[in-house]
Amino acid sequence: MTFNDRIFGVLLIVLAVAYGWGASQFPEPFGGAEGIAPGTFPTLLAVVLGLSSLYLIVRPDPDNAWPWSRTGVELIVAVVVLVLYAMLLEPLGFILSTTLAIGTLCWRMGAKVLNAYLVGAASGVVVFLLFNFALDLALPLGLLSFLEVS
């Protein structure tokens, strides 16, 4: 099967065209005496990318299998956890969000639930203490801000 490279090649050509079109829209700088304009280098890149993507479509490599089904779901779960981690880092605070994120990741990777969240909590607390006291860098406390020593 050689679909991967073909599909990717088509997507890349779309990207190359869009990118090259973008390059043609850049305004010429005042004077215009310069050897190359802001769009020249991007145009070169668009051409090279377009040509090599054509090659990928014509001469694709054999495919690697994609993890459909269960593993695919696990991967999506992992990405969602990471995005949520980024979202919750400030409102929940570092310790709570780390406990949840690390715990969930460990658990989904096959650790026992209790162990997973214990590891999450422990690593969150240790890193928080290390950063806030040893390294003097403030990580957000979030919901736990009532613990703050003032």
Partner: protein, 510 residues
């Protein structure tokens, strides 16, 4: 003699107590990272860069620490090769061949000690080579004009896929993608490019975020897919019985391996994998029928280990002198230099002499530290190998988050990092190499600047790009570098596979 003076000054920098402390810490962390399967030197250095930043280290201290991490990771790769038959990273693959059989024969301690000594000798030879070669190359590089630099960057991209790389077109695609990301932001004439009016993009995309995402996050996703975490029986480590005769036995192998490795490291595109491979095969040839390679010959451990470590120090030569890295990890170190506002390349030897020579001296000191760490303390690293990856990798991911967050204190960068991680996963699936992307990100602005300068000089005449003998030479090398993998690559890859399959398929090998 001038070099010697600089080197002595360099020792002055490297031996400052806090630099020494960070070198020790880096060496320890590096060995740890290298020893754990799944975490290579590039990953390790990538994750620690944001931390080095948030610690607010001085440039030379940050560089010394991360160089020590790099050297340490190259030392550490062998530990899991010998004890688990799982190479910590690709260059450590050849060490499995004789290292694991030695461990099976109850000589794990000897194998670990021999590999540590060989690593030390390999690194030492390469560091001396670096001291001798780097200033010469830097002086030569000072004659480069913008056109030559432009061609040199092309050469770097062309050879980065490496001789063992698979599809050169994919290297080109990867380089383009990296360069395209590098054009985001406000260019030197003040024009906004591809920012879509987003304020956060005006300064461009920080390559540290891209690097950590591409390496660390995609590694996590790959691990989830493969779930390689299943416990493999670990070899017990016996009490060390190493005589002078044993050391003398491996000495010539280590020296040969180190020299070969250094050459492989300096040559663009060859790198540590090739260093350890030729270190092993030539050792086999040199010893001939008297050896028992593949069945636990100590020289089969020493050769590739010396080659591997020699190559990793050798790869620093083009990185420091030309600003063109020869491997993934040196690309990450280059990112560090650029973000410390140090322009890598020949001028660095005059403008930032203290930093360059401090790092080189630190590399020498680091090797001694690593030897001391690795012989008596190897037990600690062995114990740490039993940490299950299912706990380890999430924690490493968190460190990546903390590091990136503490640079800017905004979560905006974290989303970008995750996006780069997902992209890295997809690209690795498609066998698009990640290192040219990183290199594109790093070199993009410089490349465009040199193109602009060349055009300014020639008044818009493109032929200036191949107008000097030197430039033509670089173009030819670039073309060869791109075409050679087509011819030599399959043969080399097959040989490496045959060599490793011989032990992997061995019924006693598991």
């Amino acid at each position: 003699m001038e070099t010697l003076g600089f080197l002595i000054d360099g020792f002055g920098v490297a031996l400052a107590p806090h630099n020494l402390m960070f070198a020790l810490m880096g060496a320890f962390l590096g060995t740890l990272i290298g020893a754990l399967p799944g975490l290579g030197p590039a990953n390790g250095v990538a994750i620690l860069i944001p931390l080095a930043f948030s610690l607010g280290l001085r440039p030379e201290t940050a560089l010394i620490m991360l160089t020590a991490v790099y050297a340490g990771a190259m030392y550490g790769g062998r530990i899991s090769s010998i004890l688990l038959n799982i190479p910590g990273d690709e260059p450590a693959m050849m060490t499995c061949l004789d290292g694991y059989p030695m461990a099976q024969q109850g000589k794990a301690a000897e194998a670990l000690a021999i590999s540590a000594i060989a690593s030390f000798i390999g690194s030492l030879i390469a560091t001396v080579g670096l001291i001798l070669l780097a200033p010469v190359l830097a002086r030569f590089a000072l004659t480069f004009g913008p056109a030559e630099y432009f061609a040199l960057f092309l050469l770097a991209f062309a050879t980065l896929g490496g001789i063992t790389g698979k599809n050169p077109v994919k290297t080109v695609v990867a380089a383009c993608l990296g360069l395209m990301v590098a054009t985001v932001g406000i260019d030197s004439t003040g024009v906004q490019r591809y920012t879509f009016g987003t304020l956060e993009l005006y300064e461009g995309i920080d390559f540290i975020i891209a690097i950590v995402g591409l390496f660390a996050i995609s590694e996590l996703l790959f691990f989830i897919e493969e779930r390689a975490g299943g416990g493999k029986a670990k070899m017990a480590v016996n009490k060390l019985k190493l005589s002078w005769a044993d050391i003398r036995n491996i000495l010539p192998s280590s020296v040969r391996g180190g020299i070969l490795g250094f050459i492989a490291g300096v040559l663009p595109g060859a790198g540590a994998s090739l260093g350890s491979f030729i270190g092993y095969t030539l050792e086999k040839k040199a010893v001939g029928k008297k050896g028992f390679f593949g069945q636990g010959d100590p020289r089969g451990v020493a050769g590739p280990e010396a080659g591997n470590n020699g190559a990793s120090s050798g790869a620093l030569v083009p990185m420091l002198t030309l600003g063109v890295p020869g491997s993934g990890t040196t690309a990450v170190l280059l990112a560090l230099l650029i973000s410390l506002n140090i322009t890598p390349g020949p001028l660095m030897f005059t403008q930032n002499a203290d930093i360059v020579w401090g790092v080189i001296a630190a590399l020498l000191i680091g090797n001694f530290l690593l030897l001391i760490l690795n012989i008596p303390l190897v037990g600690i690293f062995v114990k740490l190998l039993s940490v299950p990856p299912m706990y380890l990798l999430p924690c490493v991911t968190m460190i990546a988050f903390v590091g990136i967050y503490s640079i800017s204190n905004t979560t905006f960068d974290l989303y970008f990092m995750v996006a780069f991680g997902v992209a890295g996963y997809v690209l690795r699936k498609l066998e698009i190499p990640l290192v040219p992307i990183i290199l594109g990100l790093l070199l993009g602005p410089e490349m465009e600047k040199n193109l602009r300068h060349a055009m300014d000089i020639s008044d818009g005449d493109w032929t200036i790009l191949w107008n000097s003998g030197l430039a033509i030479g670089l173009w030819v090398f670039a073309a060869v570098g791109l075409i050679l993998p087509y011819i030599v690559g399959p043969i080399l890859r097959r040989r490496m596979k045959v060599a490793t399959a011989a032990t992997a398929g061995n019924p006693e090998g598991d």
